[in-house]
Symmetry: D2
Subunit: 285 residues, 4 copies
């Protein structure tokens, strides 16, 4: 698909929509889809424009430069341009449970996730067989002698070598270091098995059972140095009852986790997400 | 609130967004909120623009005429302008059950529904006490000797005399005639106590029970001459189980009906709904 | 309805169901509905039995005593008997917002809540008009000079004089003292405007907006001395988006709060709730 | 697990619970879980009892015979006994779309579905690669010259040879003959990609789009000779909007279909479903 997505952030002011849509019109770039949102509390403006590039007369670099110049002129300080024919390269990190991994692989195979998956990384050997099923290289990078720094260095080396654009923690049960998180800022999506900010940290299903909640949930968010505090992309919940045990909550939770994670990854890969501080703007495609 | 809402429909083509947003910018009308939608299948373009009128230098009529002229020029064939300081006048029609009526009155009282309610009309005397609680005139207009034509004429006379903009059938258990529906085209909202198109017609809860469905629902739609076939504004469902009886489904259904109806009425009163054939475009406010 | 509900708790062991159902059979009390639940983790047994009393040959007191003796014999240590023709007396406590109050009154009026409402108590005069609509005595008991102890004493005096069985805090914005909570242990239902344990304490909607959650919720629980820590009866959530402001979350939340509170009150009034530590067993009716 | 599940149906009458639970007690079969339901409208009684067999002193056949005799005595006319250490053998039938197939295989692999899957049958060769991933024999049985009778005979031969207990139509796009349905009565689970009874028959997503519904759903039911009319086991829905196209509804629907189908299959395999006419009683495990 010869299409580009423009993700734009600016201080809100009169005339922005008119000027921006004017740019695309005059540049002969047909707008296929456009969504915008004004944050009235913080006076911010967000816009996502998907345009047709089949009529583009210049190089993409020239288009980019022209747009950058224009943004500079009208005071738009932040934007990204993404091309729909550039397929993101996604790494999946796992530990021992397979449900999120399977879901991602299955959706990718089915053409529902716009990405390539060059490798799966784990701190355990357990899920090699799943990776094999889908013929994806599986790297087991265990933490030896509690030396997490070395292990992370190995992982980063793998990610770099494979030109990874997005890291998905599909129930990878280790906390990433601050450095790792900063290096891949806004490029790591994690799934937490609770409805954040409830039950941050470990053992959420057991604590949910103890607290006697009537619904459980899952949260997909960008990983940041502050554990479970990154910008939330997607959440969902399901009703439970007193009949549920910590074990049955965990079983039920698997279905919530995988659908929440896959939806979040999909939104990211379709360039629908703009991050603004601790919040995400998720615009339709 | 000195604000206007423009609801715009057109054949889709390149440049519409730019031209329309340009109009508001040049007219010095600050856009507070703007949503648009391109129906790629039918090549239609829909737009809702909420603008600030505090800076308006002309009369509203002049603004309207200028916009109409502009639309004519650029080939936009259908639009409406609504003013947020003009409070719609809403009539509620009921029969014997009070839950939807209460919900509407309660929300209006609470400031959640942007409307006045000059009168309640019923074919039965039962709910007069509810109307009295809220000090709203209650007109009992029964059908005598099966003469529905006369009854409807009486109702229409009431609606006309009170300058009614919107008629809400809050479980009014009579089918309106074609003439009535056409006279108030797209101005009558009805609640059907089922998840349309399932269980069109009478006794939906009993039939849902018989069929053994695992969820029941309700549907708010514009009333048209074809019973239960009008454009749907809002739907919702709730999970039920084998333990439910037709009676308990009816009880549960009450909560679904009233929240679906109230949401639909709210969307209509906030000028968020554009009708396109049998479908509605419900844009955010 | 000449029916009784038996709510039974015991240490779990083989044969309990057989012995208990044997009792009702031999006592000629026809079981209309029976639900039970075994907590395998804590080895507890819970049972709710609704029986027909039309065939009862003894006084209710005799029936109760016979059952108590039987329980003693078989080692059942905790039970309650409730009669469906004894209508609970419920007090509603409010502050300034009316949506939960309206919802309770409306449902009670409609016959959906099995209770009488002899009085409404508030720390503010604002909602007198709502109470008047439904012709229920309204007591304004303000906190004067920060003297909460005196105010609570006045409230307790009112509750005692009116023989109140259940106190519902329908957005009453004061924390009750430990003494108050203990005096009415398991007889006070509160609605918290968040999905507990997320956003305990004040300003949950603002904090939810700040955190950028994608769903908001409400929680009905028994009030205990530990704020927002009492056993949860019911919870629900709704999807929100980046477009929502703290103000719109508050508006949306109103509909969640009132339906969650009303459902919880209904379950309590129908004697469907058994409390076990910090958890509730909510059995069907 | 040395456990048995008793699924019992009878005309409702006083004392049944006492007599049945008495039987298990006196037979020294510890009840691990028991749920029952009285259909007050049709005066039917349903019961599911899961018992521990580790203390069983007789053969299973003797236990069965003793229970059958007892049922005969007390007038219980219908029951089944299932053993949790007998793993059901499930065949999956597919056509060209893989999402439901993947979901079933993934859950089975993960230990969430209590079954073996000896074979996958399709009328098309397309999904062989998926079957290969999971190392399950794939039989392509096409319909040649429109001769469905011959094809069905071949399928039945395969099912018989593999001692299949449950057939799951995981988007198998052919209608089964009456004979096939009757032969495997209550042993075929189908997924319909709509919220039945809405949009029975073909092309439900397109028709849902045309009708402008605000939610779409899926329905898992036992296949019967009357197309899409069999007893419903499970349904679910998801909210959609005017932005959705028939194509995006289809994509969204895939996630609903697979979770509804897998839940239904799980309930069946755990012996939680009792069929009563056109309705199912789904009891907890």
């Amino acid at each position: 698909m010869k299409q580009a997505v423009f993700l734009i952030q600016a201080s809100d002011r009169t005339g922005l929509l008119s000027q921006l849509s004017g740019f695309f019109f005059e540049s002969n770039l047909n707008i296929l889809h456009c969504t915008q949102y004004s944050d009235e509390l913080e006076h911010l403006y967000f816009m996502r424009v998907r345009v047709d590039l089949t009529t583009l007369q210049t190089t993409r670099r020239e288009m980019y430069d022209t747009f950058a110049e224009f943004c500079n002129l009208i005071g738009v300080n932040k934007f990204k341009v993404r091309y729909m024919d550039e397929i993101p390269r996604m790494a999946i990190m796992v530990s021992k449970t397979s449900h999120c991994l399977y879901d991602l692989l299955m959706h990718q195979q089915d053409g529902d996730l716009r990405c390539e998956i060059p490798l799966i990384i784990s701190n355990h050997p357990d899920l090699e067989a799943v990776a094999d099923k889908f013929r994806i290289p599986y790297y087991c990078v265990p933490i030896i002698n509690n030396d997490k720094a070395t292990q992370e260095a190995q992982i980063i080396e793998l990610l770099e070598r494979h030109h990874i654009d997005l890291v998905v923690m599909a129930r990878y049960m280790q906390v990433l270091s601050d450095d790792f998180c900063k290096r891949y800022e806004h490029k790591i999506i994690n799934i937490h098995h609770a409805f954040l900010p409830a039950f941050q940290g470990g053992n959420p299903y057991y604590r949910a059972w103890q607290r006697g909640v009537k619904m459980i949930g899952a949260t997909a968010h960008y990983a940041t140095a502050d554990l479970d505090e990154g910008p939330i992309i997607e959440q969902d919940v399901e009703r439970v009852s007193h009949e549920d045990t910590p074990e049955s909550l965990k079983q039920l939770g698997k279905d919530i986790e995988r659908r929440v994670l896959t939806r979040a990854v999909k939104a990211h890969l379709n360039h629908c997400v703009i991050i603004s501080g601790r919040r995400t703007i998720v615009l339709s495609n």
